[in-house]
């Protein structure tokens, strides 16, 4: 496997293997000196066309713990407005000698396009509304450890709540959760669902309250202010009334249920309760697991093929 562009490039077996590899990375990260020489001499370039300090830092940390060299490019304006095509940008940086590009772009499909212009591996760190595969993998890892489900998600019921239409996290998570066997329900007003759900392995509900007691995982998505300007929502207040996680709603969750969020949270909108007070909240575990999962992905795509234990 050369690139990681989308979750549906991976089989369920691939996902399981990546999660097992992540276990090794977690172990490495628990050592007094959390660093191994597995990717020594490999050059990993973060190419962020859209700001995201947390994702960039997470990838950067992951690469460094595997001893890769790292470079960071932040391209603030779109390639077109600078007069340089995306192809020119990629070919220029690739000419410096790159083994992997970690790409974040506001346009869906940009990482897929980039694969045509370089021999380097492309890791999608989020493209438009399309995919954010490492987020889905870290979410799977968090559920796997949080609910002790090493063998898969059969019988789990996961609700993803919020702005599904504009969410790359939702598109990735739906594919990953379903691949591992979970039952997935999307919860949102119709205006925040994609125009078609044909082929999506999901159920749809507009009533969060009736679902709460049945859920094993409640996954909240960020809802943005601009959705009101587009007349997709009357107000964030109304959204919060219907879909926000309040203390009252949290109390109706099963005791074992996990509460997740990809961050950054919109406090008082989708997250009304104090997440620090929620017993089921694993939001910070998601962030921690992000580093280990990204180490696993980098090792999987760039590793020599030798056993990790040997490499370390």
């Amino acid at each position: 496997m050369k690139h990681l562009l989308a979750i549906d490039d991976l089989s369920a077996d691939d996902i399981h293997r990546l999660l097992e590899l992540t276990d090794h990375m977690v172990e490495i990260n628990s050592r007094p000196i959390p660093k191994v020489p597995a990717l020594r001499g490999k050059n990993v370039v973060s190419l962020f066309f859209e700001d995201s300090t947390r994702t960039r830092t997470s990838f950067d940390t992951a690469a460094k713990r595997l001893s890769a060299d790292t470079m960071n490019f932040t391209v603030s304006s779109s390639s077109v407005s600078k007069g340089e095509s995306l192809r020119d940008t990629i070919e220029t940086i690739a000419a410096m000698g790159v083994d992997a590009f970690v790409v974040r772009h506001r346009s869906s499909g940009a990482p897929a396009m980039i694969t045509r212009w370089t021999n380097a591996s492309i890791i999608n760190a989020g493209d438009g509304w399309h995919q954010h595969p490492t987020q889905a993998l870290l979410d799977c890892y968090t559920i796997r450890t949080g609910l002790n489900r090493r063998d898969g998600f059969d019988g789990l019921h996961i609700a993803i709540v919020g702005d599904i239409r504009h969410s790359r996290v939702a598109r990735s998570d739906v594919q990953a959760f379903a691949a591992l066997g979970a039952r997935v329900t999307l919860v949102a007003p119709p205006t925040l669902l994609p125009p078609s759900l044909q082929g999506w392995p999901v159920e749809v509900s507009h009533d969060l309250d009736s679902l709460l007691p049945d859920l094993d995982v409640l996954y909240l998505l960020r809802v943005q202010r601009e959705r009101m300007d587009e007349a997709l929502l009357p107000s964030l207040h109304e959204y919060s009334q219907l879909y926000g996680l309040t203390d009252a709603r949290a109390a109706r969750l099963a005791p074992h249920a996990l509460v997740m969020h990809p961050g950054p949270m919109n406090r008082g909108v989708e997250m009304v309760a104090d997440p620090g007070e929620l017993p089921g909240s694993v939001i910070l575990n998601q962030v921690t697991n992000g580093v280990a999962v990204r180490m696993a992905v980098l090792f999987w795509l760039l590793g020599s093929g030798s056993d990790l234990a040997e490499a370390s």
Binding site: S108, A112, M113
Partner: protein
């Protein structure tokens, strides 16, 4: 006196099909018949296995000059047209500057005449600068020879302005052509709204955006009685509405592009901007409806919407790329290969029917008979070939058909008695 003979072909025009040679003298057809004397001919063009038909007329091309000569010039676009069998093309007005003054349309016409590869018919804008606020000078432009008016690339959004445009145009005998798209429904749109865009995470371009304007304009034609042409229809419901409107006797004509009867939105799965076009590629059901519309005459003409873009402008993410694809050199082959239609109907949709809409029925799309102007296309309906972008005459390479095997190829094109394409090669 030059004498050109097209020998051994099958003549195909609105009067039917018959074997026969065609003799051309001084830009006009001098004789049509079997086994004419070729001894006195200056040039003999072999048409064995070919049809000899009236020249094709494309109602919808973007030649990019003036303004975007890096993508296409009137000369390179005319060459692509001639190689595609077109003897006349209607140049869309979205150049820079736009076709809203006599000087610009005169320039476009003159550049076409200078290239001498096909007749370039400038369209005129409906509104100044295609901005949708002020009427363009219809009468002045009409007096200079413009017949078809459109803001193509933009639909005329304001219903009051569109009503006024139709009423004002009425006595001038011109035709207004609408790019049917309600802009408020397509903000940021990249591809057809449906299962594919939902999976790919791209903003949808809903069918209803086209259909609402088709619906509105059918009612405006009913109100004003002034004729109107619908550009590049792409949805099943649009075809259905136009069929019903025509059945009522409303003066409406319509065109469809080869890409809208050959390609679906699933082509966008790889995010390749070469498949981004306005209106977008839609679904199999829409393709079937477009084909049915062409077959029963609801859709009058095949028009290419030839839209060249320089390679670097398509080497960007899908949402940043401009919409549009090449069409002139592949239209005939796609029509023959993909439409399950008799050849005579294909040629009708490429030749005399669009000639009438473009207002050039006095010189293009004429029956092949003695005394008629010699604007002719000679094509082999059975020749197999494969589309190779680098072999196209257009200055750009954005064909969506790279590597596709097709059937049907232009062998010779005759413009005003001059062979501008001979054996598949442009002579100028």
């Amino acid at each position: 006196m030059s004498r050109l003979v097209i020998r051994g072909g099958t003549v195909l025009d609105q009067t039917g099909e018959r074997a026969g040679d065609v003799v051309i003298e001084n830009g006009r057809i001098a004789a049509v018949g079997e086994k004419v004397d070729t001894l006195a001919a200056d040039t003999v063009l072999d048409a064995k296995g070919c049809n000899v038909s009236p020249g094709f007329v494309d109602l919808h091309v973007h030649l990019r000059e003036p303004g975007k000569e890096e993508a296409e010039t009137i000369e390179t676009g005319s060459r692509a047209a001639a190689l595609g069998g077109f003897t006349a093309v209607v140049a869309m007005p979205n150049t820079d500057p736009a076709h809203d003054t006599v000087s610009v349309v005169d320039f476009v016409r003159a550049q076409g005449a200078k290239a001498g590869l096909c007749e370039v018919l400038p369209s005129g804008c409906i509104t100044v600068g295609r901005a949708g606020t002020q009427l363009a000078p219809f009468a002045e432009l009409a007096a200079s020879g413009v017949h078809l008016f459109t803001d193509d690339g933009n639909g005329v959004q304001d219903p009051q302005l569109m009503r006024n445009a139709l009423e004002y145009a009425g006595p001038l005998g011109i035709v207004l052509a609408q790019h049917c798209e309600v802009a408020a429904l397509t903000k940021g749109a990249v591809m057809h709204e449906g299962a594919c865009c939902s999976r790919l995470g791209l903003p949808g371009w809903p069918s209803i955006a086209e259909e609402l304007m088709v619906m509105r304009d059918i009612e405006l034609v009913r109100l004003t009685g002034v004729p109107m042409h619908f550009l590049h229809l792409s949805t099943a419901r649009s075809v259905q509405m136009v069929r019903a409107a025509k059945a009522e006797g409303l003066r409406i004509t319509a065109e469809a592009t080869p890409h809208h009867f050959t390609l679906t939105d699933e082509q966008l799965n790889g995010y390749d901007p070469v498949f981004k076009v306005n209106p977008p590629l839609r679904t199999r059901a829409d393709i079937d409806a477009i084909k049915a519309g062409l077959a029963d005459g609801t859709i009058d003409a095949i028009a290419t919407d030839h839209a060249p873009h320089a390679p670097h402008t398509k080497e960007v993410p899908l949402d940043e790329a401009p919409p549009g694809m090449l069409g002139l050199e592949t239209a005939l082959a796609l029509a023959i290969s993909e439409l399950q239609m008799p050849l005579a109907k294909v040629v009708a949709a490429l030749s005399w029917k669009p000639a009438a809409i473009a207002g050039v029925a006095d010189r293009h799309g004429r029956p092949i008979a003695v005394g008629e102007p010699a604007n002719l296309t000679v094509f082999d309906p059975n020749q197999q070939w494969t589309v190779v972008p680098a072999q196209l005459a257009s200055k750009s390479r954005n064909t969506p058909y790279a590597g596709r095997p097709v059937r049907g190829k232009v062998r010779h094109t005759i413009l005003n008695g001059v062979a501008v394409v001979v054996n598949g090669t442009a002579t100028r």
